[in-house]
């Protein structure tokens, strides 16, 4: 409650300040470009396979070979670059940006989400398609935005989430899951502006392997920004960039394996051990 009130008051002050100092116009775009790549620091593990899809004939027919878990891919042969990283301007932008009229599309085909990671402007329409002749359900695990969980039983079904139903609040990231096919997941980055990109992967690099793991933020107005790169398994990294009109800057994000999972596991082991010893001691005492 207190937090919310504080945010409201803060928001009030900020808007007051913006209004009195003569903020820059809304929907402002410029000519600056920030591009670059995201690389893995150190020795990356091999990509892991997703579980076999044999239980659903429709899925297994779509893939002759086991598929890679997209969250574990690092292009070791191509400079340790990482695909499926969401890169966006975290702070530094002024003014508001309207959602584009055209929708973002999330397609379910071959029992995988296409794309695996995508970005959208808050309020933009989301179009969800089922191209598989099998039952998918689309489960949103949003924290700030609407959660939903609905099914599309047949091929060719399309659902559009508009205005009240779509994601209207900025959130990094909203996880989308199919509960029927637990390996299916997609992540949507919801920003208040259109300056975001997802690093390219082997399926959308246009045949140019050097494009893998790269991103490009175009049409930025001149200014000082904080950029963030987000990956589902490797965590987040931020960098500051100052850029002038017409300038193109290249930057590199470095990521490593996220430690939190392992750390907690060790802690848990210790707890178990201690409890075990404790139990032994009490037994001995008796």
């Amino acid at each position: 409650m207190c937090k919310k009130t504080a945010i409201w008051i803060l928001a009030g002050f900020v808007s007051l300040t913006l209004a009195t100092t003569g903020a820059r116009a809304d929907n402002e775009k410029g000519t600056a470009v920030v591009k670059g790549k995201v690389v893995f620091e150190g020795e990356a593990a091999d990509p892991k396979p997703l579980p076999k899809m044999d239980a659903d004939a429709v899925c297994s027919k779509a893939h002759a070979k086991p598929q890679a878990d997209q969250g574990t891919i690092v292009y070791k042969k191509d400079g340790n670059t990482i695909p499926f990283v969401f890169v966006y301007v975290k702070s530094g932008l002024k003014g508001k940006y309207d959602a584009p009229a055209e929708p973002v599309t999330l397609d379910q085909s071959g029992c995988m989400y296409h794309p695996h990671v995508l970005g959208m402007v808050a309020g933009q329409t989301i179009q969800i398609k089922n191209s598989d002749p099998t039952n998918h359900n689309i489960h949103s695990l949003a924290k700030k935005n609407p959660q939903f969980n609905f099914a599309q039983p047949n091929a060719g079904m399309v659902k559009e989430l508009k205005t009240g139903d779509t994601f209207n609040k900025p959130e990094i990231m909203v996880k989308i899951k199919c509960d029927v096919h637990a390996w299916m997941s997609s992540f949507i980055g919801v920003c208040t502006h259109p300056f975001f990109d997802v690093t390219k992967n082997h399926e959308n690099d246009g045949g140019d392997k050097t494009k893998r793991g790269t991103f490009e933020l175009k049409n930025l107005p001149a200014g000082e920004y904080e950029l963030e790169a987000w990956h589902e398994n490797f965590g987040t990294v931020t960098q500051k960039v100052t850029i002038k009109d017409g300038e193109t800057k290249e930057i590199e994000f470095k990521m490593g394996p996220k430690k939190s999972g392992d750390a907690s596991q060790k802690m848990k082991e210790i707890i178990v051990k201690e409890n075990g010893e404790l139990a032994n001691q009490t037994n001995a005492g008796k």
Binding site: N135, N137, H139, L141, F148, N149, F150, A151, Q152, P153, N154, M157, K159, K175, K177, D179, A182, S185
Partner: protein, 585 residues
């Protein structure tokens, strides 16, 4: 007493001069409340049946758009006219909830109990008329809450009528509405049951000792005790589940849950999903007898009247009903044999389950033996009452393999279970309810329902209801599981798909067979044949009151001289001796 109404009972506050809304809407007259219950519950019965007809489309033609109404259903229920999994589960959960808590219990107890019980004991009204009114309106609010849950985001509750956590705790907000609705419905039943018990004990007329009570009154009395004692645990459980959903407690949520690949950050954890099942079934098994006992009461009345002969073994009937009520509290865990139950506990619950079948067999035997040496009148209420007997027998017998753990391994959660309890409740209780409606319609309206339309209702209904449920035993044996949105997704469902279609066609034809009833009901209300106070030449006290009974019920407070079923007494000129008529010396 020369006036039409007996005001000495303190019921002057709802006489004829009351405004419309006090007389017919917020009435405290047990007869008006009984009619309100009956109308509301019949609407819910129809609604619950409609849900099932839509589900049966999906079962017969999986993944194909629902004809006619598919396009009008919301996105949460049907996508492009095709019922979706959540919609199917919501319809299934709400079909169960509506049929049990909003249709059949309110019909058997709220409707028939309210209207008939005070009349049969010669009382002018219920002991607590305002409590009675409150009971109906709380029930009404519960019903509105349930229906409203279809229109909120995410749709109605979809975790089955049993609402097992953790599924129900993870579920969308329809489940919260379901829980609020249940809290209201339980409160309503509690208010009603207290009233029934006090009324039966305190307000019997002079001469009406306990063993002169019609069996219907006994059935209602035992039912009321079941409601009074079994419902509070579920009310408590419902509140606990609400807390789990809304306040972040974890009464039913264990530690270490991973939902949709996300570890759940529970502050507490350590709850038990099985706790809910115990609390739920502690109510829900007595609930089965809440469904069936009033039906047995209705059938007994109709059989006694239309065989023109005393019921066989009246005292056995009464003792059996009491024993049934008692035993129903210690069989609940036979719904939970598959939760990992050990040998000792399962043997106890199997034993009690076998024992509880004995009083049911005795009641059925008494009713059948009542037919021997009778003079059976095959009118419409009697046809429905007679159909109840074999249908209930099938329902009861098929409970046997489910009540024994070893055979339950194969049959648990299959269509065999669905067939079993529907035989008890649908061709069983619902047929008894129809029998009751045809039987007491003249008392309520002063007019008789058409016999022709009644028979046109009975025979197709009898045929098609068996076409719906008989195949389910075979499907269950073949291993087809219940609560499957698309049965053909599994091998055992696909091989039984022919029978699924048969059930579906049965259900749709059964709906058509109800048209004569609906026409008959409204037509007879206004244009049926006018009848006197006792058209069936029956003995019990409700027939001593005028048809329809005025406020305060009896022109003259009756006095009872004999038992309830004195038919064909040798040496009498008429073949029936009403309870309120003094025996000739």
């Amino acid at each position: 007493m020369s006036g039409h109404h007996d005001h000495s009972h303190g019921h002057g506050d709802h006489g004829h001069d009351l405004p419309f809304w006090r007389k017919y809407i917020f009435s405290v007259d047990h007869k008006v409340i009984g009619c309100q219950y009956t109308f509301t519950a019949l609407l819910f019965l129809f609604f619950g049946f409609t849900l099932m007809m839509i589900m049966r489309w999906q079962l017969a033609y999986p993944g194909q758009p629902i004809p006619f109404i598919g396009k009008y259903l919301s996105d949460d229920i049907a996508a492009d006219g095709v019922l979706v999994g959540d919609g199917y589960n919501a319809f299934g959960a709400m079909h169960g909830t509506i049929m049990v808590f909003l249709a059949i219990v309110p019909l058997g107890v709220g409707g028939f109990g309210n209207y008939i019980l005070p009349l049969q004991i010669g009382a002018p009204d219920m002991a607590f008329p305002k409590l009675n009114m409150a009971s109906y309106w709380v029930y009404f609010c519960g019903g509105v809450t349930m229906i409203a849950s279809f229109f909120i985001k995410g749709g109605a509750a979809a975790s089955g009528w049993t609402s097992y956590p953790p599924l129900s705790v993870f579920a969308s907000s329809g489940q919260t509405m379901w829980l609020w609705g249940m809290v209201l419905l339980i409160t309503s039943s509690l208010l009603g049951s207290v009233n029934f018990i006090v009324t039966t004990v305190q307000m019997r007329v002079k001469g009406l000792s306990f063993f002169r009570l019609p069996f219907f009154v006994w059935a209602q009395l035992v039912t009321s005790f079941l409601l009074l004692l079994a419902f509070p645990p579920l009310e408590a459980a419902g509140v606990l589940q609400l807390m789990d959903r809304l306040a972040g407690t974890s009464f039913f949520m264990p530690s270490g849950l991973v939902y949709a690949t996300e570890p759940q950050n529970q502050l507490a954890g350590g709850g038990s999903p099985l706790l809910w099942q115990h609390l739920f079934w502690f109510l829900a098994h007595p609930e089965v007898y809440v469904l069936i006992l009033p039906a047995m009461g209705i059938v007994s009345e109709i059989i006694a009247t239309n065989t023109r002969k005393p019921l066989w073994g009246y005292k056995s009937l009464v003792y059996s009903a009491i024993f049934l009520g008692f035993m129903s509290f210690i069989v609940w865990a036979h719904h939970m044999f598959m939760t990992g139950m050990g040998t000792t506990l399962s043997t106890f619950f199997q034993a009690t389950t076998m024992i509880i079948s004995v009083p049911s067999v005795i009641i059925l035997t008494c009713l059948i033996l009542s037919l021997y040496g009778a003079s059976i009148r095959f009118n419409v209420p009697m046809l429905f009452a007679l159909a109840f007997l074999p249908m209930f027998a099938i329902g009861g017998l098929t409970g046997l393999p489910l009540g024994l753990t070893a055979s339950d391994i194969h049959l648990h959660d299959t269509y065999y279970v669905i067939g079993h309890f529907h035989y008890v409740v649908a061709p069983g209780t619902i047929f008894a309810i129809f029998a009751g409606i045809y039987y007491w319609f003249p008392k309520v309206t002063g007019r008789k329902m058409s016999e022709f339309l009644g028979k046109l209702h009975f025979w197709p209904s009898f045929l098609f209801i068996n076409a719906v449920f008989m195949p389910m035993f075979f499907q269950g044996m073949a291993g087809l599981l219940r609560r499957q949105y698309d049965q053909t997704e599994q091998l055992h469902g696909a091989v039984a798909h022919g029978l699924t279609k048969m059930s579906s066609y049965g259900a749709w034809l059964l709906a058509i067979a109800q048209l004569p009833f609906i026409i008959n009901f409204f037509y007879s209300m206004f244009a049926g044949k006018k009848v006197g106070a006792n058209p069936w030449e029956s003995t019990t006290l409700e027939w001593a009151a005028p048809s329809p009974p005025p406020h305060g019920n009896f022109d003259k407070t009756p006095v009872v001289y004999c038992g309830p079923y004195e038919y064909s007494v040798p040496g009498k000129s008429k073949d029936y001796c009403p309870q309120h008529v003094a025996q000739e010396a």
